[in-house]
């Protein structure tokens, strides 16, 4: 090859590489993506016990409790059956077992077990008897459920239990039943279904309702019921010919708000019953299905979703667990127990996720042995997701900037690097101090407990230049000094003569009455008194109300909760925590997605309202100035009846207009108000309407006057300490011009100083209560972007104490 040929080849090579990469990317993009599974689990231990299992749970001490029955063989071929509860430690070693006779259970078979808060157990017998035992399995009390044919039970998040079963009435009618019961056996809810439906699985849903699954005729069958026990939808899933049978044995919720159904069904291509896996969305529409045709005469007896949105499914008639990706395709499988070479006679009783994120499976062999197997957690190879909500890509004023980091899993460390400098280790959210003006680049790193490292990527932000106040003060001081120097120089002769006469002479020539009658002195005195009057008008109400303890029993404290910044798992607990503080009202943003009803945001809002209803709390909805009308309609249609207050626009007097940099004109603000008000009114809600205003209403008072004609009350937002001092005057003025009650709808302080924030909030609560206001709503419960949030800070504790003492 000549030199010129070599040169040509080198010029072509980069183009070929680029084209190849582009083609590769296009192919990659064209292939449907599914999240890959991680490495396989392994068997940690497997233990055998005598008896037959129906159910397994992990207990609070890390051990396991297995429910079922045992058979004792005696001479002459006689056998005696007993209901069984068996307890192991965390490594599967036998601790104790209790057997119960017909004096306790009518059918000697315990179908399900649950642990109670006192470390005792609830046992659900097949014949419909529910037994409460102590931590050692001794019977304490029992109750009849009034139904027979118990199938299984799952605990609910409110401390109760969903129990399902199927019984045949004396008339021969098949009844599928669900009871929600408390620990004493009292029935809180029930849902029966006739016409051939058979329940085989139940789970609690994100909205505190529940889902039932099983089969109807020969079809898969699934129903969704809300927290008020109303059936939202139900759906049979029909496949194959009329005689092809299909059964759901297990269901699980998925993080996208949908469900996965696991079971078995006839598959003609395989010539018999094979395992099925079906993914449906939150409305029941099928997303995909996987039929494991190569596994004949078997089904999926249990399913769980994994952290990477894949699934683990356990076969019902073999000691085999299959791991799939998020689309249900098999990634790997493991035979987890030696069942004596008779896998086809093994029967799975249950699979649970253990506290270490591994799995425990229990089943019964044909030889009459219970096999309990523990699988290790899957090796974690997924890096943590690091999100930085502050700082953002924007320009900050000089001063401290909060560094707010969220990592989606526990970490061994979090570090950040600013402007390429060395990593700084932090224990949580912190503050970036001493930043120079100009551009900055921040990168946050985190390592999870498995050693995987994640990064936030580079975040660019800038700090504005510092206003040169020091230079200005110095300049003024120098100028003042120079002026004084010049004056002294110019008046040097007068000063000398004054020094000679002495200061006393200046007073001897006049007396006080002369001073009092002096026109200039009188004018200055009156001006001084005028200033004093103005100051008294501004500050007297604040000091008076702050010092007084007026009785105001109707005063209620509220808080703005940005629940969309929390996970679904947190929301219920946070509402409970807010409720426990004594707060009556929760103010929230309009969080939903009308375009995609399956968006998890909608489930999150369902969950939020379910929690507020459970705790009897009032909800105030914020409709922002630029909210999409379709979004408002969707929200009000779905959750409007659960609202106590609706906020129509947010501080419209100071909100920016459609034209960048300008405020809403009066016409814009009024037209926007009328549009939103019209939408809200069309839903005939029982909620009270209000609009909140900032201090700017003073110069645009026509807006509150105009809006208040259609409002039940008006809101005032109070933020700075200086505004708090003057707020009584503003409250009185707002009340005067609108003739409506005033509620403090936003009250808070963004500061990293916990004591200052707490003092500010408590002084405000004292003030507003003494003024006889109806309420004060604190901003915020939680806030990622600034320091307004009170959650977990001193203010949370102090507000709780204040409410306990004052309301």
């Amino acid at each position: 090859m000549s030199a010129s040929q070599r040169g040509s080849a080198w010029r072509l090579t980069p183009r070929i590489v680029v084209i190849a990469v582009l083609i590769g990317l296009m192919l990659f993009a064209a292939v449907p993506q599914s999240k890959a599974a991680t490495g396989p689990s392994s068997v940690e231990w497997s233990k055998s016990f005598s008896g037959a299992a129906n159910s397994v749970i992990q207990t609070s001490d890390g051990g396991y409790a297995i429910a079922g029955y045992s058979v004792t063989y005696s001479g002459g071929g006689y056998s005696t059956a007993s209901a069984l509860l068996l307890k192991t430690d965390s490594s599967g070693s036998f601790q104790w077992e209790k057997t119960y006779g017909s004096d306790v259970f009518s059918h000697l078979n315990v179908m399900a077990v649950a642990q109670t808060p006192d470390s005792g157990y609830l046992l659900f017998g097949q014949g419909g008897v529910m037994v409460k035992t102590d931590a050692d399995g001794n019977v304490q009390q029992s109750a009849s459920l009034g139904m027979t044919g118990v199938y299984t039970c799952v605990p609910s998040s409110d401390g109760n239990y969903f129990v399902i079963g199927n019984q045949v009435n004396p008339t021969g009618e098949q009844v599928a039943w669900m009871l929600k019961v408390n620990e004493q056996g009292s029935v809180l809810l029930n849902k029966t279904w006739t016409g051939g439906v058979v329940y085989q699985a139940v789970i609690e849903t994100n909205d505190r309702g529940y889902a039932l699954a099983g089969y109807w005729m020969n079809d898969f069958w699934f129903a969704k019921v809300d927290s008020n026990n109303n059936v939202q939808w139900y759906q049979p899933y029909t496949y194959g010919g009329e005689t092809d049978r299909h059964f759901i044995y297990s269901i699980t919720k998925t993080v996208d708000g949908g469900y996965v159904l696991a079971g078995a069904g006839d598959w003609q291509a395989s010539g018999g019953m094979v395992p099925w896996l079906i993914k449906i969305d939150s409305e029941g529409h099928e997303k995909w299905k996987q039929i494991y045709g190569q596994i004949l005469n078997n089904g999926f007896g249990a399913v769980l979703q994994t952290a990477d949105e894949g699934y683990v499914v356990a076969l019902s008639n073999s000691a085999m667990l299959i791991r799939t990706d998020s689309s249900g395709s098999e990634q790997w499988n493991i035979t987890y127990a030696d069942t004596g070479g008779q896998n086809s006679l093994y029967h799975l009783a249950g699979m649970i996720q253990t506290s270490d994120r591994g799995y425990a499976l229990v089943g019964t062999t044909s030889g009459g042995a219970i096999v309990l197997t523990k699988l290790s957690p899957e090796p974690d190879v997924t890096p943590p997701v690091v999100s930085v909500s502050s700082p953002k890509r924007k320009t900050y004023d000089p001063g401290d900037i909060p560094l707010t980091v969220t990592v989606d899993e526990p970490t061994s460390w979090i570090r950040y690097s600013l402007d390429g400098n060395g990593n700084v280790t932090i224990s949580g959210n912190t503050t970036l101090s001493g930043l120079s003006s100009g551009e900055h680049t921040l990168t946050v790193y985190a390592q999870d407990l498995s050693g995987n490292e994640g990064t936030s990527g580079a975040i660019q932000f800038s700090v504005a230049s510092v206003f040169p106040i020091g230079w200005i003060v110095a300049g003024v001081a120098i100028a003042a000094g120079a002026v004084v120097g010049v004056l002294v120089y110019v008046k040097r002769d007068s000063l000398k003569s004054g020094k000679r006469q002495g200061l006393r002479s200046a007073f001897k020539k006049q007396n006080l009455s002369v001073i009092g009658n002096n026109r200039m002195i009188r004018t200055l005195t009156i001006i001084g008194l005028c200033i004093m009057f103005v100051l008294v008008q501004l500050f007297f109400p604040f000091f008076y109300f702050s010092a007084s303890k007026g009785s105001n029993s109707g005063f209620e404290v509220g808080v703005t909760y940005v629940y969309e910044q929390d996970t679904a798992g947190q929301v219920y607990g946070q509402v409970s925590r807010i409720h426990d503080l004594g707060i009556k009202t929760i103010r929230v943003n309009l969080v939903c997605d009308y375009v995609n009803p399956n968006n998890p945001l909608n489930s999150l809002t369902d969950l939020f309202f379910s929690a507020t209803q459970n705790f009897g709390m009032q909800v105030a909805l914020i409709i922002q100035n630029r909210e999409d009308p379709n979004q408002i309609r969707y929200y009000l249609g779905k959750w409007g009846q659960d609202l106590a207050y609706v906020q129509v626009l947010n501080e419209p007097e100071s909100a920016s207009s459609w034209d960048v940099g300008a405020l809403f004109t009066d016409d814009e603000a009024i037209s926007l108000f009328e549009q939103v008000y019209g939408i809200v009114e069309s839903y005939h809600l029982s909620a009270q309407l209000y609009t909140n205003f900032g201090a700017g209403f003073v110069v645009r008072s026509n807006l509150p006057i105009k809006f208040s004609e259609n409002l039940d009350f008006v809101g005032l937002d109070v933020f700075m300490e200086s505004f708090l001092v003057m707020s009584p005057t503003f409250i009185q003025l707002l009340h005067e011009i609108t003739n409506k009650n005033v509620v403090i709808t936003e009250f808070g302080m963004s500061t990293s100083d916990d004591v200052a924030q707490s003092n500010y909030i408590i002084s405000g609560l004292n003030l507003f209560k003494s003024m006889g206001l109806k309420g004060c709503w604190i901003v915020y419960w939680n806030s990622q972007a600034d320091y307004y949030g009170i959650r977990g800070r001193l203010a949370e504790q102090k507000v709780g104490e204040w409410i306990a003492q004052n309301t």
Binding site: N517, R519, R522, T523, I526, I527, L529, C530, F533, V534, V536, Q537, F540, P541, Y544, F545, G550, D666, V699, R700, S701, N702, I705, K706, P728, Q732, H735, E736, I737, G772
Partner: protein, 144 residues
């Protein structure tokens, strides 16, 4: 009793009563028309209201005070300008209104004004006199 009668007989009571009643009437009129002002061609109405309340009203009250001083005490001219004299009396009056409203929790202005008309004539008589005594007329001089 004699002292009270002596005080009541003084022109200061009449002076104060006229000032307080004038301030109360103006306040009632302004309260009644406040929203009409604020809704008139915003923000012009707001500006007109501010001008009325803090420019025109003080001038009227200041002029009234000076006329009363001239009539009752035989003064001439004025030491404090009309506006400053009026705003001083207005601020004193409105400050007391705020204090009464705050302490007694009376939101309705008419009741507050009624209380003030009954309580404040004497203090405002002295305040009116203090704020602008004018000049005593020059004593007649003999030429012979």
């Amino acid at each position: 009793m004699l002292r009270i009668r002596k005080i009541l007989s003084k022109p200061v009571l009449v002076h104060g009563a006229i000032i307080v009643i004038a301030l109360a009437i103006i306040q009632l009129i302004l309260d009644a028309s406040q929203n009409s002002f604020l809704l008139f061609m915003p923000p012009l109405g707001f500006a007109f209201f501010m001008i009325t309340q803090f420019l025109i009203q003080p001038i009227i009250v200041g002029a009234l005070n000076i006329v009363l001083l001239h009539r009752m005490y035989g003064c001439e001219g004025w030491q404090t300008g009309f506006w400053l004299n009026g705003i001083f009396l207005l601020l004193a009056f409105s400050t007391l209104t705020v204090v009464f409203q705050t302490i007694f929790g009376l939101a309705a202005t008419p009741y507050i004004l009624l209380v003030e008309v009954l309580l404040l004539p004497v203090p405002f008589g002295y305040l009116g006199k203090f704020s602008n005594r004018g000049n005593q007329p020059a004593a007649p001089q003999t030429t012979s």
